[in-house]
């Protein structure tokens, strides 16, 4: 018999079990008595308390190819990578922009040296270098919570006994069992990535956020489309041709990674064009969330009334998103 009566209400809420700590390491090492320091280090690594030891029992897995970039052509060309041969300052020395002034009349001064220099050839593949990673716009620890708060939709949960009892008590027939809605990411999302010039500074942020969405919702549940300026003009999957935009099936959230025209770049869509698009998506029954790298109060009121605008920046929290979602914009 291992069931025990519940204690007093105050004691009913048990504490969260402790994180894995040195206590676990000591327990495991004492119980398993590792024969050598490498084995002890393996135990620590399994508990997440140390680096993975050098002992490798199998050859490593072949590396998977890098994921397709979420934002390739037809957007603007990416910034050139830093050449591998770029001189770097020694540690602790601040590189100076001052240059030595050439003597008047010297070959450097009159530009004749330009004629003598061979043009640079194409860069060899081994010289290519990844652009340095940028800090994500959302606080990484909060990203899952923010995504859940923004994109969870209500699905049928457990039977709602209170509503069922109330109906029965009033003598009403129970045509179907009422259920309590529960938030879920089950429906996934359609993600629309804005390749317009106004979003060019945020290209890496878009790519990393699409990756975060895939990790949170599940890769199979994320459908990525690209557009420039406004999806109403045309949209398409990365690497495929663009065509007239098609909304997802009803109930699947639509995520916009865009500036909603705030970038003030020629050609960007006007609020009326955006509003027409948002109304079209809304009419299909899909909730729409725009992650915008500007304060929401800069977004025209006419758009805020049609889409949940989430400030794509560090101060944003899951609680803030929940609050906005349940109140302000609806």
């Amino acid at each position: 018999m291992t069931t025990a009566p519940l204690a007093a209400p105050a004691a009913r809420q048990p504490r969260r079990p402790p994180l894995i700590s040195l206590a676990d390491l000591f327990t495991a090492v004492a119980e398993l008595a590792p024969a050598d320091p490498d084995r002890a280090r393996e135990i620590a690594a399994l508990l997440g308390l140390g680096p993975v030891p050098a002992r490798v029992t199998r050859p490593p897995e072949p590396a998977a190819p890098p994921p397709e970039p979420a934002t390739p052509a037809p957007g603007p060309a990416p910034a050139p990578a830093v050449p591998a041969t770029e001189p770097r300052a020694a540690p602790g020395i601040v590189p100076s922009q001052l240059r030595e002034v050439a003597e008047p009349g010297s070959p450097v001064e009159d530009g004749a040296w330009l004629e003598a220099v061979a043009p640079l050839g194409p860069r060899a593949p081994e010289q290519a270098r990844e652009a340095p990673a940028v800090e994500p716009l959302f606080e990484p620890r909060w990203t899952v919570g923010i995504v859940f708060a923004a994109l969870a939709t209500n699905v049928a949960g457990r039977a709602d006994l209170a509503r069922a009892v109330e109906a029965l008590a009033r003598g009403r027939p129970l045509a179907r069992i009422p259920s309590r809605p529960r938030p879920s990411l089950r429906r996934g999302a359609q993600v629309l990535v804005d390749l317009g010039a106004g979003m060019e500074p945020f290209r890496q942020d878009q790519e990393s956020f699409v990756a975060a969405l895939r990790r949170t919702l599940g890769a199979e549940r994320v459908d990525v489309l690209q557009f420039a300026d406004c999806p109403g003009r045309d949209a398409g999957a990365p690497g495929a041709g663009w065509a007239a935009y098609r909304a997802p099936r009803s109930g699947v959230p639509v995520v916009l990674l865009t500036d909603l025209g705030l970038g003030s770049v020629p050609g960007e869509a006007r609020p009326a064009e955006w509003r027409a698009f948002l109304d079209e998506v809304g009419a299909e029954g899909s909730p729409c969330v725009a992650f915008v790298p500007y304060p929401p109060d800069r977004v025209p009121r006419v758009l805020r009334a049609a889409v949940l605008v989430v400030r794509w920046d560090r101060p944003t929290t899951a609680g803030w998103v929940r609050q906005r979602r349940t109140g302000a914009h609806r």
């Binding site: 291992t2 079990p17 119980e31 008595a33 899952v144 006994l161 599940g218």
Partner: protein, 308 residues
């Protein structure tokens, strides 16, 4: 050879109980001697009473590890395959509200609320007696597992669930107890279950959850491990003509291409199925048909590539 205090498959296999010679079964794609890290991880999880969280690509044998452990330990075994609809509560118990409402509307006698509760896998693993008293139906998922004593529970593909499910399991899996109605359901102090959780890493798991688990990452077995697994399953004799090695090299050689094309990598089970087919067809590497089979495999690969 290391002697392990909690889970020592080599010792059991060296001296199996007379009632069961512990011959490998269809699902047993793991041979624990092939990788001592796995045995170490199981022992660490049992020593620290922490869940064992297993990462690894599809087909590497994550899901077959738990029933194998149960069979070797002679522990009870339960499993639940997690889906996007699974809630943490389902793993503890479910309440059959529809049947209760039906009984209420029928107007006849109906039982107490408690009698409409069906214990879930975690309840069965923690406290089998109370689950039985509850009137639940025990689902043994593996005939090779034990019939008494502690349990091994497999929560398969936890990354399929919504992100809050792992967090909602922190309390039951951390303290090996949970509240139901007016009592605690808890595992005995000397019989804590081994909880094995698998993930394909399709979704990130929460940090609080990760930091309470012993984490093991399984790679795909390579040629030596595959051959070892084949010997354990099919005997050394059948592989004397180099069949095990040849098929293992074929399967292993297909992996980089499959990874490159983002296709499923041939699994260990697929390797064993291929060996069984070869044995049934009397197909060996020195058979004239062998080259043809290899060509077909390559053609299939190329066709897939041209379609991709």
């Amino acid at each position: 050879m290391t002697a392990w205090p909690y889970f020592d498959p080599a010792a059991v296999e060296a001296a199996p109980p007379p009632s069961d010679p512990l011959t490998p079964r269809e699902r047993d794609v793991y041979v624990f001697g092939a990788d001592e890290r796995i045995v170490l991880a199981v022992n660490v999880a049992m020593a620290t009473r922490r869940p064992l969280l297993i990462y690894g690509p599809p087909g590497c044998g994550k899901s077959s590890l738990a029933p194998n452990v149960a069979r070797i330990l002679r522990w009870r075994y339960y499993e639940e395959v997690i889906s996007s609809r699974t809630e943490a509560q389902d793993l503890l118990w479910t309440f059959d509200a529809v049947r209760r409402l039906g009984d209420a509307q029928a107007g006849g006698e109906f039982a107490e609320d408690n009698d409409y509760t069906e214990p879930g896998v975690i309840w069965w693993a923690f406290d089998r007696e109370s689950a039985r008293r509850q009137g639940g139906t025990e689902q043994f998922q593996d005939p090779g597992a034990g019939l008494a004593g502690p349990a091994v529970v497999l929560l398969d593909e936890i990354d399929k669930a919504d992100p809050d499910l792992p967090n909602n399991l922190l309390l039951p899996l951390g303290g090996y107890r949970f509240a139901h109605a007016d009592s605690w359901i808890e595992a005995p102090a000397d019989g804590a279950p081994l909880v094995v959780i698998t993930t394909n890493d399709e979704r990130d798991l929460s940090r609080p959850f990760l930091r309470r688990c012993v984490v093991l990452t399984l790679p795909h077995p390579r040629v030596p491990e595959l051959v070892q697994i084949a010997v354990a399953h099919l005997g050394a004799e059948a592989g004397e003509g180099g069949l095990y090695q040849a098929v293992a090299e074929l399967v292993d050689g297909m992996r980089p291409e499959a990874v490159r094309q983002r296709m499923p990598v041939p699994s260990t089970a697929e390797y064993l199925d291929t060996l069984r087919a070869c044995l049934r067809l009397h197909l060996t590497p020195d058979d004239p048909r062998w080259e043809q089979m290899i060509r077909i495999t390559l053609d299939k690969r190329n066709a897939t590539e041209s379609l991709a």
